[in-house]
């Protein structure tokens, strides 16, 4: 690469690298929300578990 085009490529790459990193951070937060929703769902399952099983058994 001549005439300093490596600098142009580097500048462009830095922009997209950091924007991508930011999107990854946002994604990590979404993943955390998802994990917590799962945890709450499991907790609810346990809490309502026995009754839920009975009902399921009744219809069978």
């Amino acid at each position: 690469m001549s005439g300093g085009s490596q600098y142009v490529v580097a500048a462009y790459a830095v922009i997209w690298f950091l924007v991508l990193a930011y999107v990854v951070v946002l994604g990590a937060r979404t993943a955390r929300v998802g994990r917590q929703v799962e945890a709450i769902t499991r907790m609810l399952d346990r809490r309502e578990g026995p009754e839920g099983d009975d009902a399921a058994g009744g219809t069978d």
Partner: protein, 227 residues
């Protein structure tokens, strides 16, 4: 779900504009007579700088609206905007530094107003997060809103002070923007500017959708604890 739809639409718009502007900037726009290929940094360097100012302006308006309504959603908008604006200003400093290296041979030039101004802007808005982390709840939102307004007031002051000083010390300021830009370059600059602003809006919308789900989750957890 208007928020999700907005995030999706802006994401698509931003992607299209980014692809078009990348093609335009690297393949279509003419080579600059003086600076050659290095001048192509200009398109996204300046576009991202202006987009960061848009982000800080949005945060300032959100701060005013928060103080008016005390609605936590405006605090979300303010923080998300400043976070993206800070990311963009860091990128302005980095790409500006690369540009300085390419055209002057050094990574940092204290006499270049753009680099110095954006360094100050980064410092101003980095302090926003320090302030946020040291107060809670209602007070945190209130202080953040006030600081977003005061910070946005200091931005033009920093710009102007650095440029006033420069105009006295170095009458000739290196510039490739402004009236001397031919139309074939200007159009691609406008496209990259639109791309960067669309990118800001898309990131903001995605961030807000995430915050909304986080808040809904917290409400749910609270309700389950009380049940």
């Amino acid at each position: 779900m208007p928020g999700e739809r907005a995030a999706l639409i802006w994401g698509v718009v931003a992607t299209i504009l980014v692809v078009v502007s990348t093609i335009g900037v690297f393949l279509v726009a003419p080579e600059d007579a003086d600076q050659g290929v290095i001048q192509r940094i200009f398109y996204f360097h300046v576009a991202i700088a202006i987009a960061s100012l848009v982000a800080f302006a949005v945060a300032c308006v959100a701060g005013i609206l928060y103080l008016r309504t005390r609605d936590a959603r405006w605090d979300d908008v303010g923080e998300a905007s400043i976070r993206i604006g800070l990311l963009f200003s860091v990128l302005v400093v980095i790409t500006g530094s690369i540009w300085a290296k390419a055209s002057w041979g050094t990574w940092w030039v204290w006499t270049d107003p753009r680099l110095v101004t954006y360094l100050i802007v980064v410092l101003i808005y980095a302090a926003y997060f320090v302030l946020r982390s040291s107060a809670e709840d209602d007070r945190r939102m209130r202080y953040s809103a006030i600081y977003a307004i005061a910070g946005f007031a200091s931005v033009p002051l920093s710009f102007y002070s650095v440029r006033v000083a420069e105009s006295f010390v170095h009458p000739v300021v290196f510039t490739s923007s402004g009236a001397n830009m031919p139309g074939s370059m200007l159009i691609w600059f406008v496209v990259s500017q639109a791309a960067m602003i669309a990118l800001f809006i898309a990131l903001l919308e995605v961030d807000l959708v995430g915050r909304r789900s986080e808040r809904a989750l917290r409400r749910l957890a609270l309700r389950l604890e009380n049940a």
